[in-house]
């Protein structure tokens, strides 16, 4: 089993994802350069956070044209699991793998602090290790995380259970103060229709060890690995 972490010029959480996968989760991971045209037989793909191409023009808007993205789109279409974190979420939206867009934070400032998330759907391949309603704590660090979509898209996301994480307070309530960036419906993470592509603004890879202050992000990676183990062809 192998998970590819894509490095775009300007990615800066690629190493953190790689270390979380290899050192903490204990799964094989490798970097794929944005100019690569192969995913190298990866079983899952992570688009990490950062500022791909400096986020010039608009976050994620240039990265989607990287050669590797063609393969990522194909991989996702074939049902391969793809996780986009922060800038990776922005790239997934720009690439059309997820609906909607991420606008400037409502307060117009970069927001870097821990947030609480409520698991809205624990029946996805990324969240099976959590309980529905469970409250997680992990950092956010972004300037453009204000999720926006038209009313119809939002109601479909709600109806399909594709809103996976919502910003809440420590008690699990969606109060206005708990929403750090103005996201519609308090959205912190969403799934595509078939359920194999997850985009989220918070950083689960920064919450995988006690020494970092939280291990609540670990479940996303372990759920993914469990899913891959269960679906992997038996070794011949």
């Amino acid at each position: 089993m192998k998970i590819s972490v894509i490095t775009f010029p300007g990615s800066n959480c690629d190493y953190d994802c790689y270390k979380a996968l290899r050192d903490v989760v204990g799964v094989d991971a490798e970097f794929r350069w944005h100019k690569d045209r192969e995913l190298g037989g990866a079983d899952a793909v992570i688009l990490p956070g950062g500022f791909s191409y400096g986020d010039y023009l608009r976050a994620g808007s240039i990265a989607r044209f990287s050669p590797i993205m063609e393969k990522v789109v194909e991989f996702a279409a074939d049902g391969g699991p793809v996780l986009g974190i922060c800038n990776g979420f922005q790239i997934l939206c720009e690439a059309g793998l997820l609906p909607g867009a991420l606008l400037r934070n409502e307060g117009l400032t970069f927001q870097s602090h821990d947030v609480h998330l409520r698991v809205e759907n624990a029946e996805t391949l990324f969240t099976s290790g959590y309980q529905k309603g469970q409250v997680l704590r992990m950092p956010i660090a972004h300037g453009e995380g204000n999720y926006h979509a038209d009313t119809e898209t939002l109601s479909r996301l709600e109806g399909d259970g594709r809103i996976v994480f919502r910003y809440v307070n420590a008690e699990g309530e969606t109060t206005p103060w708990a929403n750090p960036n103005g996201s519609a419906h308090h959205i912190a993470g969403i799934l595509n229709e078939p359920g194999n592509v997850l985009g989220m603004m918070p950083h689960p890879e920064r919450a995988v060890e006690e020494i970092l202050g939280s291990t609540d992000g670990l479940g996303i990676f372990t759920s993914l690995v469990e899913h891959l183990s269960a679906t992997a062809p038996a070794p011949s």
Binding site: K19, F51, Y56
Partner: protein
């Protein structure tokens, strides 16, 4: 045509080290201004200094050469008024691998690892263009660290602004914070702390000092040297434009109303290119294809090329026509003095240029051969083969005249220091009101408004984020941690420069031991006014002496830093601000200790000196009476050292559950800071402060050498026993109360003692709203506690 005689990897030119211009006197370029006394004066050189230039060259300089000398002999590059004083600082210890003189200091932290670190100012640019000024300050300090071969792992900032009731100050403050954030966030280097002070003494001239830490394997250390005749000089990274020309000279002048016109001298940053340059540089250094690398920072190509030549004792020759430029028609003068950002000068091994280019191309950057290393000790510049500058490198880089000035203490400051504070103390009638006003001061209150704009957790190594005593990161693959802090109280240094500087060092060390780190080394940033004024030179000398004494006693050598003089606006100098950036090592990261109280029922103890009620230069005096006066707190360096060892021992034994340096705002504010923590679960406090001082002094006095700790009730006996063994006093102040409890502090012993009694939720609200309230965004700020 001379250039036809040359040959090289890229065709004609000095790229292969064929010395083409040797022995030819440079001729003035057509269109260059004539060298007149006025032109010399505009370049910031005194008549004596100009005579020295003529003596070194043995002839009149060309306009290009004058520009080169002007930059290299500016205060910023040449340290002409500080060099003699800087020699007084201790710089050596067995763990120091690289002391002052390189891009950054480097210390050995064991297990084959080394830590590179440095602080640098960007005060003048930030005063006229806060966003770009601060952003490029971060960019510059990152490059200083990664050119040593170290990967930047953390940044800190030391900032000074005027009072936030001024709209101009709010503009500068918001711009600087955004500039620092946008740059560091994009490159992906976590911000782990620092400090900020607001005082009218910095009204027109903010201070923006940025510090960076980088980690490397010892063997990856590389120095900025141009060695090996025939090795190739390559310009790497961004192209050279007309921005920042003479930035170094600009930084060596006082600010005035006309400084706004200097805005074009402020460089523009591109953090995305910086990130690529960082990765490419580290790859280059590990590739073995290069022998030296240096940032084209202050004074750009001039300083990087001549310093690399000067350090190694060889010479360099380069052709400005080969330098990749952003626009046509740039003169050698402009190309040599441009401070365009995100550029490096690399010395590639002869014949390895293609490999260097290949690495740079992978990171979508340019690398172009512009010259070569020679053996004649000259810094020689050609323009399409014609010599335009030919200067002996060593006298250029090391021969800058240095001065010892006259220093006389200002009578005004003496008067302020000798002010009797009794009338002010007598006027204080409401301790609770004073307490809340202090907490709402941006100097005491939470700095969350700032550090929430900085990515603090990228790289997944931050163990203590900003807001505590010191920032802490873990060192992957070891049990170790690195802690860092910046400190300086400008009011103390203003009132008593020597003592103020000692306090800055002592406070930095206290902050490090409070997280469990052994203070190890220092980088300093000396921010002062115009050294030609006797009262300013006095401050500079005294501060250096104080810093030297404290650093020597604490065994924390100064491995480098920065001097920023002429911090004056319309003739008024900032407070002398010798910022101490100190790093420390934790042997066991799992022993790390934070500043806030942990649990209801824990015992609160004050370790160290007695509270005499030192109110000179205090925040209380500024907030309640608008005064900066009195004698700053006494500091006993030997007592401080005992305290440091005692606190470290208690943390190593796991006795202490929280530790916080007790400084600005006194014990009352320290107790409040420890009680509210990060605002999620403020804990009540029930404490009693005893001592000979009156209630104001007991609660708000800023006596040095005190650390506020807490421990489990069962550990109190052991704590007292260990403190006694270390020769430090330990006084029980009270106990930690319950969540959302009452914050009660009594001053004095009697039952009728004056007291502060406020619900801790209110304490937290005031503390966290301090800056948002002044930035008029209180309605948009998050509530302080978990009841969101």
């Amino acid at each position: 045509m001379r250039h036809q005689e040359r040959s090289g990897a890229e065709g004609a030119g000095p790229a292969t080290g064929t010395e083409t211009g040797r022995g030819e006197a440079p001729e003035p370029r057509p269109g260059d201004p004539e060298i007149t006394p006025e032109v010399v004066d505009e370049h910031g050189l005194s008549p004596d200094e100009y005579d020295r230039v003529v003596e070194i060259l043995g002839r009149t300089p060309t306009f290009t050469e004058l520009g080169v000398f002007s930059a290299m002999w500016s205060e910023h590059c040449g340290y002409k008024n500080s060099k003699r004083l800087l020699r007084l600082l201790p710089t050596e210890a067995p763990w120091v691998i690289q002391g002052p003189g390189e891009n950054a200091g480097v210390i050995d932290i064991g297990e084959g690892l080394a830590l590179a670190f440095k602080i640098e100012s960007h005060n003048h640019p930030s005063a006229v263009e806060p966003y770009q000024g601060a952003a490029t300050g971060v960019g510059g300090i990152l490059r200083d660290v990664f050119t040593m071969g170290a990967r930047p792992v953390a940044v800190l900032n030391s900032l000074r602004f005027g009072d936030l009731d001024s709209g101009r100050v709010r503009y500068l403050f918001a711009g600087v914070v955004k500039g620092i954030g946008d740059y560091g966030n994009c490159v992906g280097i976590p911000n782990i702390g620092g400090e900020v002070h607001f005082d009218r003494g910095y009204e027109g001239n903010p201070l923006v000092n940025a510090m960076c830490l980088g980690l490397m394997k010892r063997e990856d250390l590389i120095r900025g040297e141009a060695e090996g005749v025939g090795n190739v000089l390559m310009a790497v990274g961004a192209r050279t434009g007309r921005d920042g020309i003479h930035g170094a000279t600009f930084a060596s002048e006082e600010l005035s109303e006309d400084s706004e016109a200097s805005r074009p001298q402020v460089q523009v940053g591109d953090p995305f290119t910086e990130k690529l340059l960082l990765e490419a540089s580290l790859e280059l250094i590990r590739s073995g294809h290069i022998v030296g690398i240096q940032d084209m920072g202050a004074a750009g190509l001039t300083s990087s090329a001549s310093e690399m030549a000067g350090r190694s004792g060889s010479g360099v020759e380069l052709d400005t026509a080969r330098v990749p430029v952003r626009e046509p028609g740039m003169t050698p003068y402009e190309i040599l003095l441009s401070e365009s950002q995100e550029r490096m000068l690399v010395v590639a091994k002869k014949g390895r240029e293609p490999q260097v280019r290949e690495i740079l191309e992978r990171w979508e950057l340019e690398a172009k051969a512009i010259g070569a290393v020679t053996d004649d000790g000259a810094f020689r510049v050609l323009e399409e083969g014609r010599v335009v500058a030919d200067i002996p490198a060593l006298p250029l880089t090391e021969g800058c005249p240095t001065y010892e000035r006259e220093g006389v203490e200002s009578p005004e400051v003496i008067g302020l220091r000798e002010t009797d504070l009794t009338p002010y103390v007598d006027k204080e009638t409401d301790l609770e009101e004073a307490f809340l006003e202090l907490l709402s001061s941006p100097n005491i209150g939470s700095k969350r408004w700032i550090y929430e704009q900085y990515d603090t957790t990228v790289r997944t190594q931050t163990v203590v984020r900003p807001g505590g005593s010191a920032g802490v990161i873990r060192v992957r693959g070891t049990r170790k941690g690195i802690a860092a802090t910046t400190d300086c109280n400008g009011r103390y240094t203003y009132l008593s420069p020597r003592r103020g500087a000692m306090i800055a060092v002592a406070e930095a060390a206290r902050n490090l031991v409070c997280v469990g780190a052994l203070p190890t080394a220092v980088t300093n940033n000396l921010n002062f006014g115009n050294p030609l004024k006797p009262e300013i030179y006095f401050q500079l000398r005294e501060a250096v002496l104080g810093m030297a004494e404290a650093c020597r006693l604490f065994e924390t050598p100064v491995t480098g830093g920065n001097v920023s003089l002429y911090n004056e606006t319309n003739g008024k100098a900032v407070y002398p601000t010798p910022v101490v950036g100190m790093v420390g090592v934790l042997e066991d990261i799992h022993r790390v200790t934070t500043h806030h109280f942990q649990e209801e029922g824990d015992v609160i103890v004050l370790l160290g000196g007695e509270t005499h009620g030192a109110l000179g230069g205090s925040e209380w005096l500024y907030v309640r009476h608008g005064q900066v006066a009195g004698d700053p707190p006494e500091v006993d360096l030997l007592e401080e050292r005992r305290l440091q060892h005692g606190v470290l021992a208690l943390i190593e034994r796991g006795i202490v559950r929280s530790a916080l340096d007790c400084s600005e705002g006194g014990l009352a504010c320290a107790l409040a800071t420890a009680a509210v923590g990060e605002g999620e679960a403020p804990l009540g406090v029930d404490a009693e402060v005893e001592g000979k001082a009156g209630p104001v002094g007991l609660l708000f006095g800023e006596d040095q050498g005190r650390v506020l700790v807490s421990c489990r009730p069962g550990d109190e006996g052991e704590l007292h026993r260990m403190a006694k063994n270390h020769g430090i006093a330990a006084r029980r102040l009270g106990t930690v109360g319950g969540p959302r409890g009452m914050f009660t502090v009594r001053a004095g012993t009697a039952a009728t003692a004056d007291s502060i009694r406020v619900p801790v939720d209110e304490v937290a609200q005031v503390f966290f709203d301090a800056i948002p309230h002044r930035m008029k965004v209180v309605e948009a700020s998050r509530p302080s506690s978990a009841s969101t």
